[in-house]
């Protein structure tokens, strides 16, 4: 197991996870209270018990104590330091791994204040696939110009991996790239330092809301391209359209499975003009399968 990730797990789980040796294939580790410890690879899910890898039903049952202790390890015993991330439902670990959190949501004035009685953690292993964007780069970079692109995909189809590789490749070619990494997924910053390769000419605004980060980047960083993940709020659309008007190319992603449904969203109506093309991904031939490259006019 990657040592940095192992350090973030409760000691009671470390001894099971230490048995697994196929870390390059694992996509997720799922912990749910009183349910089997689950490992997810691309096409299968399995469990682990004392004897080794096993069927899910024979897997070690995760206890509430395992989850509490794992949370303590992941937050370095400092819940308060990550309270904003916890409120948003996820953490980023050293190494760029992402952890989704479920539990009892505590509301204050209708807004989420925190999550207590944590009952589940979904650890998504950060995977850098250098060259993931090879197939789409000819569409994105044409005649030395970056074409503003929207990457559309359902969750788990490699949208962030693709964005990261686009970012790395553009940066490697000397373009001044700014990543607005609101959810710390693209560069996977841990204490400010990117944990994944985003290229030599890339600035990362980590944890920054897109609508605020995009104007900041345009004013302060003189970017040639702004890259951002999971646009969806109407303000994101306005900010992206502003960037396009300012002559900055944008590469963004959003959840969806086809352009026809995505274009109905308010944020696209606000800022859809920012994009010149859309790339649709699926998992048909594994994560990152390019289904379509659409010209938008």
């Amino acid at each position: 197991m990657p040592p940095l990730l192992l350090r973030s797990m409760a000691p009671s789980l470390r001894r099971f996870l230490d048995i697994v040796h196929t870390w390059d294939k694992i996509e997720e580790i799922r912990l749910r209270v009183n349910q089997p410890l689950t490992i997810k690879e691309q096409h299968m899910e399995y469990g682990i018990n004392r004897k080794g890898v096993c069927r899910l039903m024979d897997s070690y049952r995760v206890t509430a104590e395992d989850i509490i202790r794992t949370m303590e390890m992941m937050t370095e015993n400092s819940w308060y330091a990550l309270e904003d991330e916890i409120r948003a439902g996820y953490l980023t670990l050293a190494g760029g791994h992402r952890v989704g959190i479920s539990g009892k949501v505590v509301l204050e004035n209708g807004l989420i204040k925190t999550i207590k009685y944590i009952n589940g953690l979904n650890i998504r292993l950060a995977r850098e696939i250098v060259g993931a964007a090879d197939a789409v780069m000819p569409h994105i970079l044409r005649f030395g110009r970056i074409i503003s692109t929207l990457v559309i995909s359902p969750p788990g189809c490699g949208k962030t991996t693709l964005l990261r590789d686009i970012c790395r490749q553009l940066s490697n070619q000397g373009f001044n790239v700014v990543v607005i990494d609101e959810r710390s997924e693209i560069a996977a910053c841990y204490r400010g330092a990117p944990q994944l390769n985003v290229g030599p000419c890339t600035y990362v605004l980590d944890g920054c809301p897109k609508a605020q980060g995009i104007p900041m980047a345009i004013r302060g960083m003189a970017p040639q391209v702004i890259i951002t993940d999971e646009a969806g709020h109407p303000d994101d659309g306005l900010a992206l359209a502003d960037a396009a008007r300012a002559g900055v190319s944008v590469v963004a992603s959003c959840h969806g499975s086809e352009w026809l449904s995505v274009k109905q969203h308010t944020w696209i109506r606000q800022g859809g003009t920012a994009f010149k093309q859309a790339i649709v991904l699926s998992r048909r031939n594994g994560p990152g399968t390019v289904e379509q490259v659409l010209k938008l006019d």
């Binding site: 797990m9 409760a10 303590e72 937050t75 370095e76 015993n77 308060y80």
Partner: protein
Amino acid sequence: MLRLIGAAIVITACGVGGLTMARSYSIRPQNLQSLATAVQMLATEIHYTRSSLPEACSRIAAQIGNPVAAFFNQFAAQLTSNSGISAAEAFNQSLPVLADAGFSQQDVELVSQIGAVLGRSDAEDQLKHLELLKTRLQQSIAKAEQERDKMVRLWNYLGFCVGALVVLMLI
């Protein structure tokens, strides 16, 4: 001659005992004050920089004198030991540093209460707990100062007097 030497030894021993007692009374408010300062620093670290506990504690240890620095160093070292220890366990395992440095049982118990909650909630809640601890420490400091004013002078002389009394009784 031997008697004289014996008497001197008895008086010196009792006197030193008395001085040590006096010193423990005079050092307690200083130690508590230093601890209260550290608690205030921790509150500031949590409030403004949201530093993680190990980071904040090492920084505090570097800025404050012993024995409180030794305690925070030990706590930070336990937290970063990668052994999967929780903050409460690390805190409890570091408390003997305070006890060995002359903090009274009562003081150590006061501090130990924060160990159970440290790092386990959001900043607002942490600050409330630290504020409460600070208030209690201030009360302890006030009491310790009163005791110091009363007891230091008493013990400074009492040791020697008891020594002299013992000598008189033995002669």
